[in-house]
């Protein structure tokens, strides 16, 4: 490994974006100092960090609440979405009769439905989870359905020729073939689950139900505590990044050795 460190893979993956991040934070801090911007208009990174430490107990509780809703909704979307996809590929008729309603779920803005769900469902956590599930489920359904359908016709003929049973075709052919599509669905869906959770929290917050980071942002904005708004926002972003990164890692672990999408570029 005599390659200069700038050219090594870990540098490109980790160090380069990190350096950009540090530069932005330094520039932000410098600009705020230079133009003496008051922190109730636009806080400095140090103000945000300070607020994060001072309000840690409250913010951590809110983070946990948002994360809980996000993960529950994501799990529900994966579970139900995959099941629906399996039902879809069993018969065209079932797919044709149910797909319009899946699309309906997808095209109706969550912000428009959320108040209704929050009124109808008494338990706030359940209501929030439901909202987030509704918007996270569609990519799972559509991707998994396409994946399960896109079986290599040559391989399918080979399996039929060898008198493979339904289960063998499902386990050895359909499921592995659908995996790249399913994982791409996971990546989109994990982000949407977080978006859904935050949007639902905002709407529940206006209705008086307190929970999560979005509620913290609202409270902070009422009190003009801009640093705390930024702190809560930072935690939401961090959650999104961690979710995305874990999906990428999962994808690499499952596809890394055989699928084009996860192959390192050849030099």
């Amino acid at each position: 490994m005599s390659r200069p460190w700038v050219q090594q893979a870990w540098f490109g993956r980790v160090m380069a974006p990190l350096v950009v991040g540090v530069l932005i934070v330094v520039a932000w801090q410098g600009a705020c100092e230079h133009w003496e911007i008051p922190k109730y208009l636009f806080p400095r990174p140090t103000d945000v960090a300070l607020s994060l430490m001072e309000n840690w107990a409250v913010l951590f509780g809110a983070l946990w609440s948002t994360l809980y809703v996000t993960l529950m909704a994501f799990a529900a979307a994966v579970l139900i979405g995959t099941l629906v996809a399996f039902v879809f590929v069993q018969s065209r008729l079932v797919e044709l009769s149910l797909l319009p309603y899946a699309v309906l779920l997808q095209v109706t803005p969550i912000a428009a439905v959320a108040p209704l769900i929050i009124i109808l469902v008494k338990n706030t956590t359940v209501a929030l989870t439901l909202c987030a599930t509704v918007i996270a489920i569609f990519p799972i359904i559509s991707n998994t359905t396409i994946g399960l359908r896109s079986v290599d016709p040559g391989l399918a003929a080979y399996f039929r020729m060898n008198k493979a049973g339904r289960w063998a075709i499902l386990w050895r052919l359909r499921i592995p073939g659908a995996l790249p599509f399913f994982l791409a669905g996971l990546r989109i869906s994990s982000g949407l689950a977080l978006v859904g959770a935050v949007v639902a929290e905002f709407i529940a917050g206006t209705g008086g139900s307190s929970a999560g980071l979005a509620y913290q942002i609202m409270q902070a904005s009422f009190q003009l505590d801009i640093p705390q708004m930024f702190a809560a926002l930072f935690l939401i972003t961090l959650t999104g990044v961690v979710l995305f990164a874990s999906m990428v890692l999962l994808e690499q672990a499952l596809l890394g050795k055989w699928h084009e999408s996860s192959m390192p570029a050849e030099r």
Partner: protein, 269 residues
């Protein structure tokens, strides 16, 4: 030099095609009534212009499609007995059709896994098949990491692992460069000879047909039919020496002439 084939002299044919024709669902006539018998140990190549029905004929032999009319026989019986010892059939596609998510050995073991062969037995046979095609070192690699020629070898190993008696191949080396193709042809000739396989082989290449075959079946299109057939009277196993011989050139020239005639006879009616 072209010796004609007399079907009635084939004592115990592996496959018999008795006035079989094939009309596709869209009304296209794939094959006009065809009569053909292939005997044990023969290496029969099907060659002809596109649309002559050579792939259709191969698929009929593999029972992948059903004849519209006529009758097919395998080892003097119907297809239900195919698969029992001494009556095994394997098909090699134009593409390697490997499972990209499985390593080479898992791909080769697939037909045994699907047939429910015990793990130890299956592993031993897989290792033997891989050794036969010279891929022992690649057993734990993914298809993606192999060259086109190596992938085709994996596909052949997957056919050999079932210990077939009849091996059907649909232009298996068509996508490969000529050097790789020649090498694989030589390996195939050796393998078929060692295992006393009966082969039906679809190809577009005159050289390949002459090098591999004990018998060449020239087909014509519109409608798909057998135009001519002849024997390549050269002992097996063959090696590169045959390819450089004058006899090889003679056969190629004769086949080339027959193919021109077959093309002329293939104009739409």
């Amino acid at each position: 030099m072209l010796e004609r084939v007399n079907h009635s002299t084939i004592a115990a044919p592996v496959v018999e095609i008795l006035s079989v024709d094939k009309v596709f669902a869209n009304g296209t006539r794939g094959l006009a009534p065809v009569q053909l018998a292939i005997g044990p140990g023969e290496f029969a190549s099907l060659i002809g212009p596109s649309g002559c029905g050579k792939s259709t004929l191969l698929k009929l032999i593999a029972n992948l499609i059903e004849p519209t009319d006529g009758r097919m026989q395998w080892w003097r019986g119907d297809f239900s007995k195919v698969g029992s010892p001494g009556r095994r059939l394997a098909f090699v596609f134009q593409d390697p059709t490997l499972m990209p998510w499985s390593k080479v050995d898992t791909n080769v073991r697939l037909p045994l896994d699907l047939a429910g062969v015990a793990r130890d037995d299956a592993n031993a046979r897989t290792a033997a098949a891989l050794a036969h095609v010279g891929l022992t070192a690649a057993a734990r690699r993914y298809p993606r990491q192999l060259s086109g020629g190596m992938r085709m070898r994996v596909s052949i190993a997957r056919a050999l692992v079932t210990e077939p008696d009849l091996l059907l191949m649909d232009e298996p080396f068509g996508a490969l460069d000529e050097f790789t193709r020649n090498k694989l042809d030589e390996d195939l000739v050796r393998l078929s000879h060692e295992r006393a396989l009966t082969n039906v082989f679809v190809t577009h290449s005159i050289y390949e047909a002459v090098f591999l075959s004990s018998r060449i079946i020239v087909m014509a299109a519109n409608p798909g039919r057998i135009f001519a057939e002849f024997k390549v009277d050269e002992a097996f196993p063959r090696d590169d020496g045959f390819r450089r011989s004058g006899r090889f050139a003679e056969y190629c020239r004769a086949l080339s002439a027959l193919l021109s005639d077959a093309s002329l006879a293939s104009v739409p009616l």
